[in-house]
């Protein structure tokens, strides 16, 4: 058995930021367990720029953003174990991991930060008729082939889903000489950032078809084409709207799911909407001393926000280890009201004595609507937004003086007030 104060599971942007923050807060023995052969996580394949504008005030590529933290980890006292996959976490915070270099590891932790990231939704979850040839893959897999392995997965491309990775790959494949025929989105709006629609699709005249999905794939060995069709408001294909598109590659960008197999195995309660753990304002799960941050907690649009969230978790873990946490704990839930799909943190300690930021996503597109924060029937804030969209995470502030006035029966909610 090895002993560490803090075990951070995952060496992507979340894991690195959490570990560094914990060190800064005074934690002595920290280890990052990373399953890949290098730190950086998914950023390594995100070679487009746009990272760090918020955190560093610079426009960096994914690997550059990761490198800033990798260099800091190298200079720090944080240990890193690469090629190390965590298999389980038990009730006493013993982490079991497999490593080709060190064999089967058993690590006793005082606190744990979960930072395993997320994965892409595969085809199976979609009802798609037709054959099962090669040439169908998630946008992220294609991104890895093109950007890291140096291979082209196809030349004539259809993209299903307008999530950011799909949009980014539409541009990337175009720059590499492929023809991106269309991006189909089953929803009546795009799930990606507006700037990505402009600079990844509009710049290259790639059509975006909303309320449209791929209903069938064709080709026995290699993909030869797809049939797309319009869908009704129940997302069922509308007969007669089918259109055949000749292509040899179908990329799926149909959503990201926090990778919480380990969390589930450790019996940590999850939020049904975010599919991440239920956490408090320091990103502590309902298991004392186990924290979660980054895309394993909620899927973020921007890595800059991941970093900030991870720093919160790192600080929370440090306080937990050093016994500096709040003396008193009285939790109330945050309630998503009309138009709001979820709020992170799901519960807050009203004795925390600090401002708390609430992160949330709306369920549909709203124009000129207000995002209202209400505590015990009183409106805390009601900022007007020109546009609210499910693809863009919003945050609202719950100030310390409001929190101080709450009690155990208080209700805090955030809702959309439509124009």
């Amino acid at each position: 058995m090895i002993n560490y104060d803090l075990v951070v599971i995952g060496g992507g942007p979340a894991g690195m930021a959490a570990a560094l923050k914990a060190e800064e807060c005074g934690v002595k023995k920290i280890v990052i367990l990373e399953r890949a052969e290098s730190l950086g996580g998914i950023l390594e394949q995100c070679i487009h720029t746009g990272f760090g504008l918020d955190y560093f005030g610079e426009e960096l590529s994914g690997p550059e953003y990761a490198d800033r933290f990798i260099q800091l980890v190298k200079k720090s006292t944080v240990d890193v174990k690469l090629n190390t996959m965590v298999l389980s976490i038990d009730d006493n915070k013993v982490v079991t991991a497999a490593s080709s270099d060190e064999g089967l590891l058993k690590i006793q932790a005082k606190a744990i930060v979960l930072a395993m990231g997320c994965r892409e939704r595969p085809r199976g979850a979609l009802q798609m008729a037709g054959t099962r040839p090669s040439g169908i893959m998630t946008a992220g897999t294609a991104q890895r082939y093109v950007n890291i392995e140096g291979y082209m997965p196809g030349k004539k491309v259809v993209i299903l889903g307008s999530g950011d990775i799909g949009l980014i790959m539409a541009r990337r494949m175009t720059l590499e000489g492929a023809e991106v025929k269309v991006v189909c989105e089953i929803m009546p709006f795009s799930g990606g950032l507006t700037r990505n629609i402009v600079q990844c699709l509009n710049d290259y005249n790639i059509p975006l078809k909303l309320s449209t999905t791929v209903v069938a794939t064709h080709g026995k060995e290699r993909l030869e084409g797809v049939t797309i069709a319009k869908v009704d408001d129940k997302m069922q294909p509308i007969p007669g709207t089918e259109e055949y598109i000749d292509c040899d590659l179908l990329l799926l960008s149909v959503g990201l799911i926090p990778e919480n197999e380990l969390t589930k195995q450790a019996n940590i309660p999850l939020d049904r909407v975010t599919k991440g753990a239920v956490v408090n304002e320091m990103r502590e799960t309902e298991k004392d001393g186990i924290f979660a941050c980054g895309n394993v907690l909620q899927v973020h649009d921007l890595v800059d926000f991941v970093t900030r969230e991870a720093q919160l978790a790192g600080e929370g873990a440090a306080k937990y280890i050093l016994g500096e946490g709040p003396k008193e704990k009285v939790y109330i839930n945050t309630t998503p009201g009309h138009g709001v799909r979820y709020i992170v943190p799901q519960r807050i300690n009203i004795k925390s004595g600090e401002d708390i930021k609430l992160y949330l996503r709306v369920g549909a597109i709203y124009k000129n609507a207000r995002l209202v924060v209400e505590a015990d029937g009183k409106i805390v804030s009601n900022k007007k937004h020109i546009k609210l969209a499910p693809g863009e995470m919003e945050d609202v502030l719950l100030p310390k003086d409001v929190i101080d006035g709450l009690n155990q029966d208080s209700k805090v909610s955030v809702y959309v007030e439509e124009a």
């Binding site: 390594e44 070679i47 487009h48 720029t49 746009g50 504008l53 918020d54 426009e59 960096l60 590529s61 690997p63 550059e64 490198d67 093109v146 950007n147 890291i148 392995e149 140096g150 720059l175 590499e176 950032l193 507006t194 700037r195 629609i197 402009v198 600079q199 710049d203 649009d301 921007l302 020109i386 546009k387 863009e392």
Partner: protein, 120 residues
């Protein structure tokens, strides 16, 4: 003339309205920061974009290494620049900031390395 556009400078994606005549910008509204105004003006006069790709790497851990434009290039030159990038082969080790192409296509912009690869 009036043109509505979405600023791509940062992920906020502000809706901007530009009033202009020819290449003479009269007013910019809707932006929430000075970068938005700059973006809108450039978009009317000479639209610019950052691009990124990979170049062939010999002796590296991976067969390619990523790169980007050191600052935005004229939109119309994107595919010319891609052609130049595709001609480049570099040898490991490479590190972030290494210049792969100086003044690509006469734009005054460099193509720089965006990841480290110390070699096999």
């Amino acid at each position: 003339m009036k043109k509505d556009m979405i600023c791509v400078t940062c992920p906020r994606g502000c809706n901007i309205t530009v009033e202009y005549e020819g290449t003479n910008v009269i007013s910019v509204t809707g932006n929430t920061c000075p970068r938005g105004e700059k973006y809108a003006r450039t978009e009317i006069v000479n639209p610019e974009r950052n691009i990124h790709s990979t170049v062939k790497l010999i002796g590296g851990k991976n067969p390619v290494v990523p790169c980007k434009t050191s600052s935005p290039i004229p939109k119309g030159k994107i595919f010319d620049v891609m052609k130049e990038i595709d001609k480049v082969t570099v040898k490991a080790p490479v590190k972030i900031g290494d210049v792969f192409i100086k003044d690509v296509c006469g734009t005054g912009v460099d193509i720089v390395c965006t990841n480290n690869d110390s070699g096999k």
